[in-house]
């Protein structure tokens, strides 16, 4: 069995314009980041709202959030992606449907589906972290907030959430990393993100090992940088004299 190792493959022309294979990886990485970052921001917002709902005394709000979490945690990501990409568009109002299916570029509609899918999927996980963070705070915190005359909204905004978010930075970091890894499912509905570009390079060049090695390195470096970023955030927002390495 002969395999021609060729690490220069990334600098060879793809035969399309003046593109080299490395350009494919760069554009793939761009899509991966574009999917993951946007989905993450939406997931943080929805997840925080749901997490707060789970801790409210209102039974209806709490059980809605609990139901949401169970639903989105117990259905495989791929099934959810198919639902958002193949099923939901068919039930949109007619005008929106035409816009989504015909007027949008295929890449754009795939992008929207993936972002919605990952955002709602990750929101369930963020919700659980936010809830854990709020419940981990001593009861005295909410009691004291109410005692000084805060209403419920003020209590969450000024007392509970600022502390809860600081506690949950480590578990949130791992969800943040997961959303980057999970964004690879986008390759299954034709979005040319990092994994899809890797596969394509492997098929075009027959230099499979080089292509997948480069992809692995990119994911690895991405992971390390995000982890570094999050621990920088954690240090930045740390309240002196409080939990976690009081300094």
């Amino acid at each position: 069995m002969n395999y021609n190792w060729d690490w220069n493959v990334f600098f060879k022309s793809t035969g399309i314009g003046s593109e080299i294979y490395l350009d494919w990886f760069i554009s793939g990485l761009g899509w991966t980041i574009a999917v993951a970052l946007v989905a993450w921001i939406v997931a943080l917002i929805i997840g925080s709202i749901l997490g707060v709902m789970r801790t409210l005394p209102n039974k209806a709000a709490a059980s809605f959030a609990a139901g949401y979490v169970e639903l989105f945690r117990n259905v495989p990501l791929l099934v959810q992606l198919f639902v958002w990409y193949f099923l939901v568009p068919d039930y949109l109002p007619e005008q929106t449907q035409i816009w989504f299916k015909q007027e949008l570029a295929p890449t754009t509609s795939a992008y929207i589906s993936v972002v919605v899918c990952l955002a709602l999927f990750t929101a369930a996980r963020v919700c659980e972290q936010v809830r854990t963070g709020i419940q981990a705070l001593p009861k005295g915190q909410s009691a004291a907030a109410l005692a000084v005359g805060f209403n419920q909204a003020q209590m969450y905004r000024h007392v509970l959430l600022p502390q809860a978010f600081r506690i949950i930075i480590p578990p949130l970091t791992s969800e943040f990393l997961n959303i980057f890894k999970n964004s690879s499912v986008a390759s299954l509905i034709g979005l040319m993100e990092l994994l899809a570009q890797t596969k394509q390079t492997a098929e075009f060049t027959a230099n499979m090992f080089e292509a997948f090695t480069l992809a692995t390195i990119i994911y690895f470096v991405l992971n390390m940088s995000l982890m570094g970023l999050m621990s920088w955030v954690e240090r930045k927002v740390r309240v002196p004299g409080m939990m976690g390495g009081a300094k």
Binding site: M1, Y3, E70, L71, R73, N74, V75, P76, L77, L78, V79, Q80, F82, V83, F86, L87, D90, L177, K181, N182, S184, V185, S187, L188, L195, T198, K199, A202, M208, F209, F212, A215, T216, Y219, F220, N223, M224
Partner: protein, 221 residues
């Protein structure tokens, strides 16, 4: 919505589910076995062994499962070819199984390591004191206690793996989800079949997670 057409497709869907379950059981057994070995390596005082295990775990935890599945699908036949020198056909099932085992082993390793570390050191010392070797102490004293403690976490990870097996769609293996998709396309009812597949995954995962939580409460000291 017309769900009646799912009934005639049941035998095919059952075949798909069998493949999913077979993959799950084999991947969990292999993953836990390899994960335990890795955990023991990580806890070893030999820096080479622990460094090796640490690199393995960090490596697999920073790349997407889908990348591993895709890569192994292409690479496993080629690697076997190199090693054996002859052409062996491997098939998507085997290469996916190897991918799941090796990927999940990284996650199981961390669970097992935490489990072992939660056992008081005195247990090991006592085992040595009565004349056991390292192997005996691990096999007869430490691991049985550690596994009991970490059973809920191992099971929860396996529920996640059950959902992740659907990713074999990427290499065209006919698991439960892929069977449902293709049957739905054939009879022209893709939405109904997709919802049905989602509901089945939900019921199994939710049921299993609920049981795991109950087990966790019972095992809690």
């Amino acid at each position: 919505m017309d769900f009646t057409q799912i009934v005639p497709a049941m035998p095919a869907l059952w075949e798909g589910m069998l493949l999913t379950l077979k993959m799950l059981v084999l991947a969990v057994s292999g993953g836990v076995a390899l994960g335990t070995v890795l955990a023991l390596m990580r806890l070893s005082s030999n820096p080479l062994l622990s460094g090796l295990a640490k690199t393995y775990v960090n490596y697999f935890r920073s790349i997407p499962l889908l990348l591993v599945i895709t890569w192994f699908y292409l690479a496993v036949p080629m690697l076997l070819n190199w090693i054996t020198g002859t052409f062996v056909s491997v098939g998507a099932f085997t290469s996916c199984l190897v991918a799941f085992m090796m990927f999940e082993a990284a996650y199981y390793c961390e669970i097992v390591r935490a489990g072992i570390q939660s056992i008081p050191r005195g247990q090991l010392h006592a085992a040595y004191a009565v004349g056991m070797t390292y192997g005996q102490a691990m096999r007869l004293i430490i691991l049985p206690q550690a596994f009991r403690k970490m059973m809920p976490l191992l099971l929860q990870q396996s529920v996640i793996l059950f959902q992740d097996t659907s990713l074999v769609y990427a290499v065209g293996l006919m698991d439960f989800l892929n069977t449902a998709r293709s049957k739905g396309d054939i009879v022209g009812l893709p939405h109904e079949f997709l919802i049905f597949a989602g509901a089945v995954y939900f019921v199994i995962s939710f049921g299993a997670s609920t049981l795991v939580k109950r087990l966790q409460k019972r095992l809690a000291v």
